[in-house]
């Protein structure tokens, strides 16, 4: 098949170019999906930090799935796939940890727990805030010799 035949094929089958907006919309959807995944991953990571004991395994598994999905989405970008995966993965984890710690600093989950919203009520009941046990030791007087 030569070049003319391919052009004839395009004309005969009335093959149309996908319009530019199709690709713009696709990019917007990918960005939106990336933002949603990042927010959920951030929520889950800060929640894990909030309720460390007992360790919330189910949110942790979901967090891993969301991080992998985020990495997969970011691989669409030239700046990401041209570098080894470990770099982008470490940056994602670092940013999530940083922002997750900030959320905990501002008592985000305590406020959410107090609000008792229908969607999150069961979630906070199942994994309550971590209890930091106070050290139990006696202060003994040291006799001076």
């Amino acid at each position: 098949m030569d070049n003319k035949e391919i052009i004839e094929e395009i004309k005969k089958k009335e093959i149309k170019m996908r319009p530019r907006w199709h690709f713009i919309l696709r990019s917007i959807l990918i960005i939106a999906l990336g933002i949603i995944i990042s927010i959920i991953a951030l929520y889950l990571l800060s929640f894990i930090l909030f309720s460390f004991r007992p360790f919330p395994w189910l949110p942790f598994v979901f967090l891993l799935i969301f991080i992998i999905s985020l990495e997969y989405l970011l691989k669409e970008l030239k700046i990401v796939y041209r570098k080894p995966i470990i770099y982008s993965l470490l940056i994602i984890i670092f940013l999530l940890f940083m922002l997750g710690s900030v959320l905990n600093r501002v008592n985000f989950h305590e406020r959410m727990e107090r609000r008792n919203l229908p969607g999150t009520r069961q979630f906070y009941k199942r994994y309550p805030k971590r209890i930091i046990e106070k050290p139990n030791f006696e202060i003994k007087r040291i006799r001076r010799l």
Binding site: D2, N3, K4, I6, K11, M17, R18, K75, K78, R82
Partner: protein, 181 residues
């Protein structure tokens, strides 16, 4: 066909196609038809398969031409489409399952492979023994030594890190040397 179209760069022709002109696309087909077929021949043996898939590559390129950024090079973009089409065909025929995930792309490789074509490798030796290599080495060698793409361009075609291109090229050539003796 307008005068001087054949003197224009691929990217300028792609821009014309983007504006709605179909005829300039024939110039791009003319320039890349043999190259894409040659690329396909390294994966598939059936002549009809290669003809059909090459046609599919150009039709897909035409359909998706609006996604091409004219500030970038056209050839890696087209090879990316060709790569996807040939890999899909290979998967369909189940000759060799392609790995979804490879440790090669996870960690950085300090060793960059800078050997130039012809320095220590001969195209005919490569060509004879290419089929003995797995696809992940074979494809990189084809793109580098037969299609003469740069590391960055190969990285864009395969969507893998530039350092992985270097390390796979080095391993592939070493394997060829072992085979050749």
């Amino acid at each position: 066909m307008r005068m001087g179209l054949s003197d224009k760069k691929d990217e300028d022709i792609a821009k014309l196609v983007q504006s709605g002109e179909i005829e300039p696309f024939a110039v791009l087909v003319n320039r890349y038809d043999e190259k894409i077929k040659r690329y396909g021949r390294k994966f598939l043996s059936g002549k009809e398969d290669i003809e059909d898939i090459t046609q599919k590559v150009f039709i897909n390129a035409y359909k998706n031409i609006q996604s091409f950024d004219v500030k970038r090079k056209f050839s890696p973009w087209l090879y990316r489409i060709a790569h996807n089409e040939f890999i899909n065909e290979l998967k369909r025929k189940k000759r060799e399952p392609f790995k979804f995930f490879d440790l090669d792309v996870v960690f950085p490789h300090l060793l960059a492979y800078k050997e130039k074509y012809g320095q220590a490798t001969d195209r005919s030796i490569i060509n004879k023994n290419l089929d003995k290599l797995s696809n992940k080495y074979k494809e990189i060698i084809i793109l580098r030594y037969f299609e003469e793409l740069s590391y960055k361009e190969i990285s864009d075609v395969l969507e893998i890190p530039i350092s992985t291109v270097g390390i796979r090229l080095k391993r592939g050539i070493n394997k060829l040397r072992e085979i050749y003796g």
